[in-house]
Symmetry: C2
Subunit: 93 residues, 2 copies
């Protein structure tokens, strides 16, 4: 499967590395939106990334769609654990 | 100022205390929506609260509106620091 260039998965790196990834994705002129995806604690970083991109770098962006959900994670020791997820779609105005 | 019974502010308590607060707010029959508000790290808890209420306790709820933003906090040592904020509105279907 090809990696979708319009999705940025948020993990445990500093906010600015994901900010750069989002800005890079928007560099292609036919990119109208980029979605930032995170789960668990990284959701805080996802919101920070969206806010920093919008306020400091690309003031014409809007958080056009924000969704939350729950994913079941398989645990190594057996059983499942629920983890919350978040997606923030950033759209060029 | 009166405390708005339809807003639940998320802090550092366990998820279940806020879940209970949301369910209690919905107990009044004229309450159609409850908004969960958080900033910084507590945003993760806010998403968890919304998801647990929706999935485990009140399956007719929808996260009807999710907004993110930035607040400037005054620091004790002078200067300001930006903190991300999130609001999740839960609405009875």
């Amino acid at each position: 499967m090809l990696k979708d260039p319009n999705i940025v998965y948020i993990g445990r790196k500093p906010v600015m590395s994901y900010v750069l990834a989002v800005i890079t994705s928007f560099n292609s002129p036919d990119t109208k939106d980029v979605t930032v995806k995170a789960r668990g604690r990284s959701m805080t970083t996802a919101v920070d990334v969206a806010e920093v991109v919008k306020r400091r770098f690309m003031k014409d962006l809007k958080a056009s769609k924000i969704t939350i959900g729950t994913e079941e994670l398989q645990q190594e020791e057996g059983g499942t654990r629920n983890v919350s997820t978040m997606e923030i779609m950033l759209t060029r105005d």
